[in-house]
Amino acid sequence: MAAIGHGRKPIVERILEPAEAVKKIQGLPQVPIRSQIANEVIGISYGFFSPLEGFMNSADVDSVCKKMRLASGVVWSIPIVFDMSDAEIGKYGITPGKSVVLTYMGNPMALFEVEEIFTYDKKEMAQAIYGTTEDKHPGCARTYKYAEKFIGGKITLVNRPKINEPYGPYFITPLEMRKKFEERGWKRIVAHQTRNVPHTGHEWLMKGAWSQTYAELPIDKPYVGVLVNAIIGEKRKGDYIDEAIILTQDELRKSGYFGDHNHLTSLTFWDMRYAGPKEAVFHSILRTNLGLTHHMFGRDHAGVGTYYGAYDAHNLLATIQDELDITPVYSMNWLYCPHCGEVTSEGLCNHKSEWQKFSGTLIRSIVDDGVKPPRLIFRPEVFDLVMECAEKYGFGSPFVTDEYLEKRTPVFSIEPLKA
């Protein structure tokens, strides 16, 4: 049976086997790409971005900006574009109707069948997607950095990425993911979107979402799983290092706060746009393609600063719920109540004047001050692993530094293509 993804379209991997790939790319111009584009090539090729088959053409971009839909009418919220300067277009001889090879790390990665070269007003794009044109919004800043032209066309992977350690077990493609769910016997799976090392507030968000998702299902066997889907993309100084994020998320399972029967950790390559409600729609699409049935959304999902209201994402999702094959699970914040002596939901506890709210940032400040946080708010196994990752991968720091950016092992590599 075909795996059905977003828009009720089958998930199709756009990947050539090496022998065919070598023949197909012979003699084609080679065009180097940056990490954002490489991440999106993977997203397109493996079906994370289904039904997209390539970088968007002008009709899709315009329709996404104006109607939050592809030109075909399928809901889509963020333009997936390939940008290039006029000078580079000339240099590589890029012309509609001709193909080029996209290279990454100096090696062939994908075949790009160029269909269209076009322009689009970047301010208009920013306003449509982010609801603002302010360049201090990171999504707008990314948009304004795009080169002057966009190129639309189909993508086919010619060289599978080599996922470097310790990320190997966590790169699970949409087709493989469905097999994992089947093996576990899960009928419903709820997504936990993250870019963080988990504190117990996150842990309880997942546990609460698991419970909400379980609902009326029988309890004779484990029928519901939580999929942690970590977004791996561009890093900024001060973020947790990727190795710490992915390994500590999985540590919650390994240390028994969850188990194999209800928890799985994975990653998706994507450079966050911080588009708030539009990003929430995009995350719904992504996780539908991964085969999930439910998606957890907290307050101000994927927002930044004060650009979006706490429930803007929920409200936007409600307008298109009939067209999404994933059910939103809305979560309230979890906090520490000294009166209850436990982490509890703000929707449950009424000792409001005693609440102690905590966030990843607050826990970071505790760690920065040389204090080990108590197990009720940060699991000791997670803390120890963060410190281990700092030594093993972070050049002494669990947070991204200039040295980490310069010397880290990339999450994936593109190696020379061999038939």
């Binding site: 709210k357 607050l362 505790i366 920065d368 204090v371 946080p373 108590p374 009720l376």
Partner: protein, 99 residues
């Protein structure tokens, strides 16, 4: 300006606690987050803005804790030393004079 609205959390590790005890200020610690010791130094609006300006890494956590976070350890040590020196949490004006 201890009546300010925005706390800076000085989490009290063993070294800081020893200093507080030696200065007879151990009572200044509050308990937070299931057993952690902390000293809250409050900033008013002007001090908060100034801190965010002179310490670019610092962040005001507007979403959850409403506190000023990510002040580097070195700067927090300075604030802590001023607390010990002045035996008061009203130290941010003095701290900001060092910039």
């Amino acid at each position: 300006m201890s009546e300010g609205k925005y706390p800076i959390n000085l989490w009290v590790n063993e070294e800081r606690y020893a200093k507080l005890q030696a200065a007879g200020l151990a009572d200044m610690c509050k308990e937070a987050m299931a057993g952690l010791k902390v000293i809250y130094v409050y900033a008013n609006d002007a001090q908060k803005d100034k801190i965010l300006q002179v310490i670019p890494q610092a962040k005001f956590d507007s979403a959850t804790t409403k506190s000023i976070e990510l002040i580097p350890r070195k700067q927090k040590d300075k604030i802590f030393d001023l607390v010990i020196q002045k035996k008061s949490i009203d130290v941010l004006d003095d701290f900001l004079k060092t910039f």
